[in-house]
Each structure stands twice: as C-alpha cells, then as structure tokens.
C-alpha cells in the first residue's frame, strides 16, 4: 500500500511518495507527507512500521542538522547514506529494530551529480539511478527499466514519474490517495506538482 519511488536525471533527483495514511481498512488521512528534508540538498522518503518511521526519520533529520550546525557544511549524500545505513544495521540486532525502509534523494554539490540511495530496514544500501519501495516497486521498477534515460531533463523526469504514478494507480488494488513530489537539485529541495490542477 505504501509506495515511494525516485528517479535521477541530468542534474536533479525526483522523489515521490504516496500520501495515504491508513489503519487497517480505514484511510485516516490522504495528505500525509512521508518525507523529511534532511538538509538543503537531501530528502528522505520513508515506509514501514508506523511510529518507527517518523521516529527514525526525525532522528536522522536532527542528527544531520546537528552535523550541519557543528561543521558549517552539510553532509554529502554518500556520507549521509552510509551513516543512516549504519544506524539501521546497528538497530537490526538490537532488542527492538527499526522497521523502516528509506529512499535517500540528494544532490552532491561538489561533484554536481544527483544521488539516490535505496536503504532497507536490514541496512542494505544500493546506489541506483532509480528505485522504489513497497508494492509499487514491482510496477515502477520495470517501467523505469524500460523508459529511464540517464541524462533526462526535469520535464522528461516528471513525465516519467507521471507514467510510474499512472501504472501504480492502475494496477495496485488499494489507491494511495495522492502523490507528494519533491525535486532536489543545485538550488536545493522543493515541492513540485506531479500533475497540473493537483492539490
């Protein structure tokens, strides 16, 4: 039910999450933001056990913010991903592991390259050009295998994201409410609309 996916392009990373918050058969909320902006050039989308998700996401957010305050520079995406992965790997063999899956989308300013990391609750880390979590991954990954190109412009990336969202809406039996989209590029992280006329 919970879906998120992300796509890298020429000089940006797009990250998309569904916005439905459900408890058993009831949809409690349809405008839930399942992302946290970790630092000026890093956004994280989370999925998993309710409670664990927000606790862990905010833990990561505040630690990365503290790093930025202490060192006057934000942590680069690769380092942030490695630190986050390590926290999850340590949590795995503790008394009560965090059951949270993440997508870390960022822009590495020094090298001017987009960054995307797929991280799961075990502490698995994959640096990928596109990725998805949840049931959506079965539809979105194959769609992106077919249509993704490495140097795509933002317009092309949004077109691709729309294609993925359409596929999920068509084939997943439980609809995900709406979609929350953020783009991370040299200027930073900002919200963007997937389709015109969408709230």
């Amino acid at each position: 039910m919970e879906s998120s996916f992300a796509i890298t392009g020429k000089d940006y990373t797009l990250i998309v999450s569904d916005t439905s918050a459900a408890h058993s058969i009831v949809r409690m909320k349809d405008d839930e933001d399942k992302m946290r902006v970790l630092s000026p050039h890093l956004v994280m989308a989370y999925n998993g056990e309710p409670g664990d998700t927000v606790q862990f996401a905010e833990y990561v957010q505040r630690n990365l913010r503290l790093y930025g305050i202490r060192n006057n520079v934000e942590l680069r995406p690769a380092a942030a991903a490695a630190w986050t992965r390590r926290e999850l790997a340590d949590s795995l063999r503790s008394r009560s592991p965090y059951q949270v899956n993440l997508l870390l989308a960022g822009f590495d300013v020094p090298s001017s390259r987009p960054a995307l990391y797929w991280i799961d609750y075990l502490g698995t880390l994959a640096s990928v050009p596109y990725a998805a979590h949840g049931y959506a991954s079965f539809f979105v990954t194959s769609t992106l295998d077919r249509y993704h190109t490495p140097g795509a412009s933002l317009e092309e990336g949004l077109e691709l994201a729309r294609r993925c969202a359409d596929e999920v809406e068509k084939r997943l039996i439980v609809s995900g409410g709406g979609w929350k989209v953020r783009v991370v590029d040299r200027e930073g992280a900002r919200e963007i609309k997937l389709r015109e006329g969408q709230a």
């Binding site: 992965r85 390590r86 799961d120 075990l122 502490g123 698995t124 994959a126 640096s127 990928v128």
Partner: protein, 205 residues
C-alpha cells in the same frame, strides 16, 4: 529461502603460478527481485590482498567497514601491510566473535604474501571456520555450481592470463545456472607487480 540467499551473489578465487585470481558477480537482489546490477562484493585490503564477501548485504557492508578499520589499525601499529594468512585469521576471529548471532557472510580471501609473493587463497564459513585450499575456493548462492565448474576447469600452475580465462569461465557458467547470482561479473588477477581488474561481458538476466 535461507537468510544467506536473501540478497544473492557469488564469489570464487583460484590459485595459479605466482598469481591468484578472485572474481565475483554484481547482482544485488531482494529475494527474487533484482535491486541493483552494480554491487561489487570483492574489496581490496591492500594492493596484493583481496577479500570477497557474498551473503546478506547489510553484513557485507558492515564487515567491509570492520575489516577496513582493523587492517588500517594493524598497518598503523605494525607499519606494514597485513599478510594474507594473518588477514585470514583476522576474518575468522571477527566472525567467531559473533558465534551466537553471526554475520551472514561467507568470505573468500585471495592474495600474495607481501614478502615472498607466495600465492594464497582461503575461505571461511559464516562463523569463521577456515579452509586453506590448495586449488580454489567458492562461496555464495552459486557455490555448488562453482564447485562443479572449477573442479572441471582448474589445473595447477596456470599462468596469469590462463588463470584469468579459467576463473572467468568458472564464474560465468556457474552463475548462469543460478537465479540469484549474475547480472555482470568482475575479475581481479593479482600478480607480483600488478593487479588487472576486468569486467566480464555476462548474461544480463
């Protein structure tokens, strides 16, 4: 499905004449779904020593970082590179430390002794039982298949170019019969004066 098969992946190492070779596939999966096709699981420890770490990827990455830490500390304290045999024992003790909650990785080690350039290969199971083979060592989801092909193709005292061909064919044909390994392969051939790393053209399925 065993937890050792969760992410998939395989590694093989072979001994040759004054050289060793170590090769691994590139697949990272999540059960039956492929996540990435660029995940290298053979890592350098020092210029003449490589370790292959197939298994649960979270533990692969954790072990890679732990070995990096421990060998860096060794180098700072001893002012020399760690020898392959000593490193093999370091791997075994690192794994046995977690005897009752193990790392789900079964490492393969290949290198040349730093002074004598004697070829060395070894492998351990997930709790650090060492295997000092004279010919080849295998590990990962395609290990049974790797045993079969390696047994057929390997012969003693192969020169580095021939060893490269042998280990490449061993890996390629073994992972082609395994659903959870494949999607590309990288081979490192280590000789006294250089290491040659090649990416193989493999079946991408």
């Amino acid at each position: 499905m065993s937890i050792l098969e969760y992410n998939g992946g395989s590694v093989v190492a072979m001994r040759g004449k004054k050289c060793v070779a170590i090769a691994g596939d590139l697949r990272l999966g999540n059960r039956n779904m492929t996540l990435a096709t660029n995940f290298e699981k053979v890592f350098p420890i020092n210029p003449k020593l490589y370790v292959g770490l197939p298994g649960l990827q979270t533990d692969v990455l954790t072990l890679k970082e732990r070995f990096r830490f421990r060998t860096n500390m060794y180098k700072m304290k001893e002012s020399r590179d760690i020898s392959p045999l000593t490193f093999a024992r370091l791997v075994a003790s690192t794994l046995y430390e977690r005897r009752w909650s193990p790392y789900f990785v079964e490492p393969v080690i290949a290198g040349l002794d730093e002074t004598t350039n004697e070829p060395f290969i070894a492998a351990t199971d997930l709790i650090g039982c060492l295997n000092f083979a004279k010919d080849f060592v295998v590990s990962g989801t395609a290990s049974d298949k790797l045993f079969g092909v390696a047994e057929a193709l390997w012969e003693p005292e192969l020169e580095s170019e021939d060893l490269f061909e042998t280990i490449s064919q061993t890996l390629l044909n073994a992972v082609d019969r395994d659903a959870l390994s494949g999607w590309g392969a990288v081979v490192h051939v280590i000789t006294a004066d250089k290491i040659i790393t090649r990416t193989l053209k493999a079946r991408m399925d």
